[in-house]
Amino acid sequence: MFESLVKNINEAGGSVRAYDACSREARARIADEPQNAAALLLISYATQRFVDSYDDQPLTVKEAAEELDEITQIVSVLDAAFSGESEKAKLDALNQVATRLGAS
């Protein structure tokens, strides 16, 4: 459901441009998937935050891998919940991810 969004980031070596493309794609999907809008918006926010932090700034390959792991985990949480039928699970996942993003 959402994992294709981070697949491209992974294939592009965790590049800033790939995060930017992911952010724009997630936002673009909202219109066609209103039932997933909140999750897509969080993914767009998380990836855009990476772009804002690292555009034109150096980061090491190690840091890039850690950032990629973080976004992969976020997307996995959302993907697992939104692939199911439980509205409570979806809400819990949204809150879990929002809390995670708010804390970092």
């Binding site: 592009a12 070596g13 800033v16 441009r17 690292y54 150096p58 980061l59 390959v61 190690k62 840091e63």
Partner: protein, 237 residues
């Protein structure tokens, strides 16, 4: 205005390379490589933003820049100088002062609405603009900033950067296809030459850097970065 002297181009490049090394703007790290915006892993990174804190160096740099530009393009070929957000802005300000031209800057993203939503400052229709950034890697940001300026009815045929990576063979062609000529003061090859001549680095580091500069994509692939350069730069983004 600039000093109206025209130093030898090779001397300019060597001096700029020494300046960048003197202020520790050049970083070498092959055991923990850097990741570029493109996803390319690299053992070298240059921080041209540091230059703004060194008034004597930046003043000389801007004299060099004015010299290179008027010699290669002409004295009366521009109506304005535009800096690309963020690092290009101070250099555009100093260079516009040297060249006696109006200055403006281009945002990475539009703010507000209208055809000049990415532009701050006054830009008249048909203006010939010199686009300025601190450095050029693969030319992607210049193409985007140039597009933003061209959409206003002005035009960018020339772009200047203090530092040009000169490691991606297709960069000049990509910029040419976007209607831009690139002007710069120094490249990684100039840095490498100074480091070699002055024994500034261990031979192992020199070899590693040279290996990257000669084949950046292969070096990247074997150090955790991308193995293929993707130029998916949306022209209107």
């Amino acid at each position: 205005m600039f000093s109206n002297t025209f130093p030898d181009r090779e001397l300019i490049s060597e001096t700029v390379a020494k300046m960048l090394l003197e202020i520790d703007a050049v970083h070498f790290r092959s055991d923990q490589p850097f990741t570029f915006t493109s996803g390319l892993a690299s053992p070298v990174y240059i921080d041209c933003r540091k230059l703004i804190s060194y008034p004597r160096i930046r003043s000389a740099l801007m004299d060099f820049a004015a010299s290179v530009i008027v010699r290669r393009v002409g004295f009366e070929q521009f109506d304005a100088v535009a800096g690309g957000e963020t690092a290009g802005i101070p250099f555009a300000a100093w260079l516009s002062d040297r060249l006696g031209l109006p200055m403006l800057y281009v945002r990475k993203k539009p703010k507000g609405f209208g055809r000049d939503a990415q532009i701050e400052g006054f830009l008249k229709d048909g203006a010939r603009v010199l686009l300025v950034e601190d450095l050029t890697t693969d030319g992607g940001s210049k193409i985007k900033f140039g597009d933003a300026i061209n959409r206003t009815g002005a035009s960018v045929a020339d772009t200047f950067a203090v530092f040009y990576y000169d490691i991606f063979p297709d960069t000049p062609q990509r910029l040419a296809e976007a209607g831009m000529r690139l002007h710069y003061l120094a490249t990684w090859w100039d840095i490498l030459k100074v480091c070699k001549n002055e024994n500034r680095l261990p031979s192992k580091t020199i070899a590693e850097v040279e290996s990257f500069l000669n084949d950046p994509v292969s070096w990247s692939a074997s150090h955790g970065g991308i193995s293929e350069l993707l130029h998916k730069i949306p022209r209107s983004a």
